[in-house]
């Protein structure tokens, strides 16, 4: 997928992910060992009233599903082009909010929507895409959102691709 091919405001469903208690605790023990992420008993007495996923776990699963989605699409696309290898790096993100606790057994549906294309004067071979990432619970309530940024390769000049 080249910069030129990306259609703004077209929401892409990235599929679902179910957070198990084991996965929540495993991530928490490694990267976010606050009681409400690692200890079901202590979590009951916390302000959350039970175990919840680390916000970074919720965010990392968005990336996981975004990559899986991209890999499924690009199977039909030629990966031989060296220029496309320049895509897929991000300078950061903005406005990340963990709006609702993510509890064991919850299934979230993730999505991504390109919302802005930015030309890069210093890097004419690339463009910057801003993407709204979201996750909703089974009732359709928004539980997580952020605006990601990603460098995407432009079609090489003179290419018929």
């Amino acid at each position: 997928m080249w910069f030129e091919d990306i259609v703004l405001d077209e929401k892409k469903d990235l599929g679902c992910f179910t957070f198990t208690e084991d996965a929540i605790i495993a991530f928490g023990r490694k990267y976010d060992p606050q009681p409400f992420h690692v200890d079901p008993q202590a979590a009951k007495e916390s302000l959350y009233g039970g175990l919840i996923a680390s916000g970074w776990h919720t965010a990392s699963v968005w990336m996981k599903l975004a990559i899986e989605s991209r890999q499924n699409e690009s199977k039909s696309e030629s990966q031989s082009s060296g220029a496309l290898a320049r895509s897929g790096v991000s300078p950061g993100f903005e406005n990340m909010r963990w709006l609702k606790p993510v509890r064991p057994g919850m299934t979230l549906r993730y999505s991504m929507t390109p919302i802005e294309k930015v030309d890069l004067k210093s890097r004419p071979e690339l463009g910057l895409i801003k993407t709204l990432g979201e996750a909703h619970d089974e009732a359709g309530t928004l539980v997580f959102r952020f605006v990601g940024k990603g460098f995407v390769a432009r079609k090489p000049k003179g290419s018929m691709a």
């Binding site: 606050q34 290898a85 790096v89």
Partner: protein, 152 residues
């Protein structure tokens, strides 16, 4: 009389204050393991693919860098604070690639403190969190609010 809590509360944070802590040794195995589970792009898994990418070599997923930063912040600051959980991050910039063998540390600078208008028991401490590598380069800059309990 009970002694005041030794935990850092909202009132203990002041603009300009800086907390310095952390030590995180980044291994190749961990970079590849995290990427395999959450961000399986070639430049996070393979040296040659890393060299061909914008990163110029194998580097950790940015989400992994956030997770490692969180681990250091939990161990170095949150355990000492009357913390009420996180709400997110206003901005995060991945400034330098994080590579196998890097040693990371943290500086948290308090920018602004603001009592909650809707809840009398908490306040927001807005911080800039910088993750440095052993070359004293800022690898990650995050601007984020921390929720802290107010002293009763």
């Amino acid at each position: 009389m009970t002694a005041p809590s030794p935990l850092l509360h909202f009132e203990d944070f002041h603009p300009g204050q800086t907390f310095v802590f952390g030590h995180y040794a980044v291994s190749r195995e961990e970079i590849v393991e995290f990427a395999g589970e959450f961000d399986p792009q070639p430049h996070h898994l393979d040296d040659d693919a890393g060299k061909r990418s914008l990163l110029g070599g194998l580097a950790a997923s940015g989400w992994h860098v956030c997770a490692m930063a969180m681990r250091m912040v939990v161990d170095g600051l949150i355990v000492k604070a009357a913390n009420r959980g996180g709400v997110g991050a206003d901005e995060c910039r991945w400034m330098k690639p994080v590579r196998p063998g890097d040693i990371l540390r943290v500086e948290v600078e308090v920018l602004e403190t603001r009592a909650s208008t809707s809840r009398s028991d908490i306040g927001f401490v807005h911080v800039a969190c910088r993750i440095f590598n052993q070359r004293e380069q800022v690898a990650l800059l995050a601007m984020t609010p921390i929720l802290a309990r107010r002293r009763a």
